[in-house]
Amino acid sequence: MIIKTLSERFFATDRGSSIFFSLLLLVTVLVPTLNLATGEGSFLHIPNYSVALIGKYMCYAMLAIAVDLIWGYCGILSLGHTAFFALGGYAMGMYLMRQIGTRGVYADPILPDFMVFLNWKELPWFWHGMDHFWLAAIMIVLAPGLLAYVFGWFAFRSRVTGVYLSIITQALTYALLLAFFRNEMGFGGNNGLTDFKDILGFDLQAQSTRVALFIATAVALGLAYFTSRYVVRSRLGRVIEAVRDAESRTRFIGYKVESYKLWVWTFSAVLAGIAGALYVPQVGIINPGEFAPINSIEVVVWVAVGGRGTLYGAALGAVLVNYAKTYFTAALPEVWLYALGALFIGVTLFLPQGIVGLISQLARRRA
């Protein structure tokens, strides 16, 4: 009874979400099972690298959902969301660096290798305590959240909107890119943070750890979707859509538009940060390249391709475009950027509602 009400309340009310949750559940069960329970030679076997790859796609899906919240629902085109993703990733990376201890090349019990290499004698203040997972977990939320809050506070209160806002989000991520490239910043310069050994005491190379990370990512993605869906279906969700469609009208019925934008913006940045934190142990590295402005633009393309303003469309777009990217960058690396550009133009011109829009249109026509 309770289960039925719960599932009706949260799953069965819209088609896209129930498909999303069903697929996510299927993947969460099937991928680890086929990875662990079948032998290498088996036809059904899913190799370790595929587990990591799908885990990575799920992190991207979460990032895409974050962008959809702010763009699809609130109408703010962020071209800097990977800044928050990367900050979450760096927070996780710092924790993982501190776990290496004496197993590093220089075997310094406290200082990560790159600091020894730079001849640093002691840990910068912001690295203190980052060997504790709980502190890292707080920083994963706090670093992107706080940056988004401060940035948004100024941007929204000065009523910067539209293209101007998109440009300053690009500037934000670009500034961070330059800053993190500098060795003096204390985040490993252009090499970033890597050579991780273990997480919470478990060997990162172990198959069981990788599967556990995979499941954790799936659960996080499910929760992210669930909370985002709660938000967009609440009255707050209707207010932010109202802001998207008629911002000044929303003010005249008494809503402080800036506060609403700031809330969704910060929430979205935190989601992006968590996605980044889960991404880093699975790919094994975080470097300033993650801040590259083009990455943020790619995320927007995923969301546009999947279909914005639906959440599941964003997730679908992230997986499809990245699958294509994995294929293209292996087969025809020089073509990828052109393909991405063509995809974006094509979708903007012919599929304003993205793939999910096309599917529901076809379904309606048949009915």
Binding site: E241, D245, F252
Partner: protein, 269 residues
Amino acid sequence: MSMTSIGRLLSRGHYSAPPPLDLSHNIVLYLEGISVSFDGFKALNNLNLYIEAGELRCIIGPNGAGKTTMMDVITGKTRPDTGSAWFGQTIDLLALSEPEIAQAGIGRKFQKPTVFPNHTVFENLELALAGERSVWKVLFAKLSPSQIARIDQVLETVGLKDHRSTQAGSLSHGQKQWLEIGMMLVQEPKLMLVDEPVAGMTPQETEKTAELLVSLAGERSVVVVEHDMDFVRSIARTVTVLHEGSVLAEGSIDKVQNDPKVVEVYLGE
């Protein structure tokens, strides 16, 4: 960034609730010496206007007289260069932002109807409904049965009962006008500013609007901007004529219609 814009930035940062509306002198709105200029052109020129509590006032005037600009000043959209604007005895409108003014109790229907096109008619009213406006509370807000009843009552009043679940964007022009009036109603404002409500309405709809506006005054004050003299005649007790940004004449409809200055302005154009 100039000092004033920094000041404005910071002052928008803390939101203290405005004091409750004080109608002890029976005046709901004071506009005194208001001037607004756009690139040197004076849209409002030393405008003085007083609206009594419970009054239904019509503002007429040729195109470009400054009627919409006046509403923009009252609702915080445009800041005047000089003058003062008070809501009751205690609320300084020039110190408040648009949402604060709305929350203080001033509702507005725009000249060009603006509704939320991707929301249903019901959701448009839900958003406008008086009540919670702070982010966290709105996140968890649920409509109470009495709030739903209130929305349904207003749907009935504005004749959109059959369009409860229609997307507002697909309504006709006249229906959008009505929806916007409905949105203003559920806000439960103490002062309603209604900019050209009957533009694009059929004679029957116009008549219905007139009835509605008359019935609304009393408990609240209603300021209606309109061109249509027959409409004005059917509802107004006091009429204010605006011309070139200031008050040209004020009084009963017969008095202003026979005023030589008014005749000249209207016939001269």
